[in-house]
């Protein structure tokens, strides 16, 4: 198929960007979206132009590196996937595809479609852990039974890949789904409960400090999340923060 691409080009964080039109032809419907981008980049290199910079790594939907806002949606129109898992069969011959970086004041553009998501790291550093040293003589893993339900629910929260689609898709650029998922994972496990109050306070404070917006419960994040992280995690974080303060 033949496609027209409208892509955000921006040299670096200090320069202004703009949308540029490109044409690609002979795209197979079995290609992944990023393989289509590879074709475009090969074409640009052939012409001596700079290829479009975009983040990607594992290309199997787990590292969370790929981003891209495709036709007005984070990770494109399909559900439950990252951009690297989006296949060209989702599009039709002759389509025009708009490709933009994830937008949020807390995610500044580094170049073209690459954004800086280090705010997520700093939120994790503020408390997204259980304070246990590596010693080799922690108690046996089966000493504390954990109900299957709690373990499974914690796992569901823990599957977050930190891609930032929740922030990108939120009209308020809120990071609450991301933070809620991490807070939930630990809040649901007995190991995490010792530090639960401080953890939620610190992580929410850091989230606010990074300049993410507030949640208005539109639910867009849950729909666009490639890992199907539930809004329930935001509700749990809200409860945890109230509990920590009352």
């Amino acid at each position: 198929m033949n496609l027209t691409l409208k892509i955000w080009r921006q040299n670096d964080s200090s320069t202004k960007g703009r949308m540029v039109d490109y044409k690609v032809s002979d795209i197979s419907e079995h290609m992944s979206f990023l393989e289509m981008m590879d074709v475009l980049n090969e074409q640009l290199i052939g012409k001596g132009e700079e290829p479009v910079a975009f983040d990607h790594d594992c290309r199997e939907g787990i590292c969370g590196m790929c981003s891209m806002y495709i036709n007005g949606e984070a990770h494109g129109p399909d559900r439950g996937i990252t951009t690297c898992q989006l296949h060209m069969r989702t599009f039709k011959d002759g389509d025009t595809i708009t490709i933009e970086p994830f937008r949020a004041a807390a995610f500044p553009v580094i170049k073209d479609l690459v954004v800086d998501r280090s705010a997520f790291d700093r939120i994790q550093q503020s408390g997204g852990y259980i304070s246990v040293n590596t010693s080799g003589n922690t108690q046996d893993a089966n000493t504390t039974p954990i109900s299957k339900h709690a373990a499974d629910t914690a796992m569901d929260a823990a599957t977050c890949i930190g891609c930032g689609a929740c922030v990108a898709t939120c009209k308020n650029s809120s990071a609450m789904l991301f933070v809620g998922a991490k807070v939930s994972q630990y809040a649901l496990l007995p190991q995490g409960q010792v530090e639960a109050a401080d953890r939620v306070k610190n992580m929410v404070a850091q989230m606010d400090l990074e300049g993410f917006g507030n949640c208005t419960n539109t639910g867009a994040c849950e729909v666009e999340c490639p890992k199907g992280i539930s809004l329930e995690n935001i509700a749990r974080m809200n409860r945890e923060l109230m509990k920590a303060n009352l």
């Binding site: 393989e35 800086d116 109900s147 994972q185």
Partner: protein, 670 residues
């Protein structure tokens, strides 16, 4: 230089305990004055960084990704082995050790593997304490599954995302130390050289991938944890950015490279669909617990399926060849990876491949759905369940176990694996070879350590499933923090290492010269052009099945390709900005050297062992006819290569492998 593995004396089960009881320690006050650089933040690098920082050292950690959490360990699906014997099925440290050595086809170092098995149980305890949500049973205790090549259930898992959860555990431990200021994290940085002062590793040269700035970082010891080199094949299950540059640079500075030809070709990957393919996707080996692998018995059926006249589900059981069950009745579909992969290649080479490219076999869940369905019907007390009901109940169980993998398959292939069998084909997945290290995980350069997949030590010629995660975390959490202390105890008087020395000047100049070359070389071909060509040579001539002629051809072709690369490569943009092509160019340049050494090593090892299959070395008769034939008399050694300029000129050093606690046997899964 003679290789000294520094394996402690004494009985194997006491070696590690005695060792840690007698090493020199660094007191806490002195640790504060010692810097350690860790390159790579996957399971090995991440866990090492966190633990070293907890101990009190100043750690500088480097990752080419935008966050430590994105290292490719995250993609490991199936699980992590540990000799916990929670299932009471006869597991023990010895059995895990035995299985790993046997699985590695007797080409790993006994003492290292035993230590790995010993600390395996601690890993699970540590990870649970960190909040890793492993799967549990209804009693609230940890659940296990079984994996290829073993007879017990010792694999702990977190759905199909075990690597992700373990990495996030290590990442959280890192975060705690980053917040305390004990780890300084350098994201989007790539190590481009190691700096040696007076023969010791004292720092690195790194490039900031955002600004292009070249930076000098000094330390008292340098740890390389940058993973494997599977991307030398271009197409592999590795991440796009996975590279061998750090490992290759230290090799050039004196670290020996061991067994480069030992590559694991994983049997259950999604087959490739076209030339544009950028990477291959692995489907967890755990699928082989319930999936049965087959191809049609008759070539007419193969043809009919390829032409779309027949569907796989049209074939009756007697028209199918469940070739693993046929050839290996004892292990069936759960034979080790190398065996399963070669068997698939054998069938496809014979013309039984079931897709257009002729490179695919079926992985079928119909029997599992049926079996689980009947089981569930019994549990739920359904009398005489209908076929549809059985299917419904069985499908629910299969979905609960493998739902995310099935969904992933459907997204990529656009076929529903509940209704039609999956198509799979082997793909490059893991490299057992790597930088040679001694028992302390130190390379042949003092102060330079190598851990995780990047080293060669634990998996011999073939790695068992769920052992990579185990090794990465064992090295990082429980081994390196001890062994590096022994070295650093001599560094307490060294003081801060200066970076304004001629050694740093020289290393930086080499790095900038090479970058300038790429930017100024106005060639005609993209970096990917060369990478794909290299991959083709590797896959066709040094892939699943190797012979002398092909390997010699491969060496010559890679050398020619390398020469063309240095003439014709084209890198747009400039050096002082984010330049993804420039980063790729440096990595491919190193792969073009490593690939040749790989072929040379494969050529030198004229035996079949594990993932390395030489057509010249097969059993000629008996029950094992046609199976790989190992040659313990001539090849029971580790090949450690010393860099001497051209890869073809590399010098071989042999570390003899002694097996005192395990009898060397023909690996039989029949």
């Amino acid at each position: 230089m003679a290789l000294d593995s520094k394996v402690p004396k004494g009985p194997i089960k006491d070696k590690w305990t005695n060792y840690i009881n007698h090493i020199d320690l660094v007191n806490p006050a002195n640790k504060r004055n010692i810097d350690i650089i860790v390159v790579g933040t996957g399971l090995a690098g991440g866990s090492a960084s966190a633990t070293l920082a907890e101990l009190g050292y100043n750690v500088k950690a480097f990752a080419y990704q935008d966050s430590p959490r994105r290292a490719h360990s995250i993609a490991a699906q199936g699980g992590i082995n540990a000799a916990k014997n929670y299932q009471g099925d006869g597991d023990s440290v010895y059995r895990l050790f035995y299985d790993t050595v046997k699985g590695g086809d007797y080409r790993s170092r006994e003492a290292n593997v035993y230590r790995l098995a010993e600390v395996s149980a601690n890993i699970i305890d540590q990870c649970v304490a960190q909040g890793v949500p492993f799967a549990r049973d209804y009693g609230g205790l940890l659940d296990n599954r079984s994996f290829g090549g073993v007879l017990v259930s010792r694999t702990f898992y977190a759905k199909g995302q075990t690597g992700q959860q373990l990495l996030l555990g290590a990442y959280s431990a890192m975060n705690r130390q980053i917040a305390r200021g004990k780890i300084e994290m350098f994201n989007r940085h790539e190590m481009l050289d190691v700096v040696k002062v007076d023969g010791k590793a004292r720092g690195i040269i790194a490039r900031n991938l955002v600004t292009g700035e070249i930076e000098r970082h000094s330390a008292h010891a340098v740890v390389i944890a940058t993973g494997g080199y599977g991307n030398v094949f271009f197409l592999s299950t590795n991440a796009m950015g996975s590279n061998a540059t750090a490992a290759w640079k230290i090799h050039k500075k004196g670290a020996y490279f061991a067994n480069p030809c030992y590559t694991q070709i994983h049997p259950t990957c999604i087959p490739r669909s076209g030339d544009y393919q950028s990477k291959l996707t692995l489907m967890s080996e755990s699928l082989r617990n319930d999936g049965r692998i087959w191809v049609p018995k008759n070539l007419e059926d193969v043809k009919a399926i390829r032409e779309g006249r027949k569907k796989p589900t049209d074939l009756a059981p007697e028209e199918r060849d469940y070739y693993l069950e046929r050839r290996y009745p004892a292990f069936g579909n759960l034979v080790p990876r190398d065996v399963a992969s070669r068997a698939a290649k054998e069938r496809c080479d014979a013309g039984y491949g079931v897709n257009q490219t002729g490179e695919a076999v079926y992985l079928d869940f119909a029997s599992a759905i049926d079996r689980y369905g009947k089981e569930q019907a019994k549990i739920q007390g359904i009398d005489k369940p209908s076929k549809a009901k059985i299917y419904e109940l069985g499908q629910a169980i299969v979905e609960a176990k493998y739902g995310n993998l099935f969904q992933m398959y459907e997204k990529i292939v656009d076929e529903n694996p509940y209704e039609t069998p999956m198509m799979i084909y082997p793909a490059v997945h893991y490299t057992m070879g790597g930088i040679w290290v001694d028992y302390n995980l130190q390379t042949t350069v003092p102060g330079l350590y190598c851990i995780g997949e990047a080293n060669f030590s634990d998996h011999g010629a073939n790695r068992l499933g769920a052992s990579a995660l185990m090794q990465g975390l064992a090295d990082g959490y429980f081994v390196l923090p001890y062994t590096i202390g022994d070295y650093l105890s001599n560094e307490i008087r060294t003081g801060k290492i200066a970076t304004d020395t001629k050694e740093f000047d020289e290393a930086e100049k080499d790095v900038t010269d090479r970058i300038d070359f790429f930017i100024n070389n106005k060639g005609t071909k993209s970096v990917d052009y060369f990478h794909k060509k290299l991959g083709n040579i590797m896959w066709n001539k040094a892939g699943m099945s190797r012979n002398e002629k092909d390997l010699k051809d491969a060496m010559a072709e890679i050398k020619a390709l390398r020469e063309e690369f240095w003439k014709e490569v084209s890198v747009p943009g400039s050096a002082n900005e984010m330049n993804t092509e420039l980063a790729k160019a440096g990595r491919v340049a190193d792969f073009l050297e490593l690939g040749e050494l790989f072929a040379k090593d494969a050529l030198e090892r004229n035996e079949s062992c594990g993932g390395h299959f030489r057509e010249e070395s097969v059993e000629l008769d008996g029950e094992q006819k046609g199976e790989a034939k190992r040659n313990d008399k001539d090849y029971a050694y580790v090949s450690a290569w010393e860099y001497k300029g051209e890869p073809a000129d590399a010098v071989l050093h042999k570390e003899a492998l002694e097996f005192n606690d395990i009898e060397l046997k023909q690996r039989s899964y029949k």
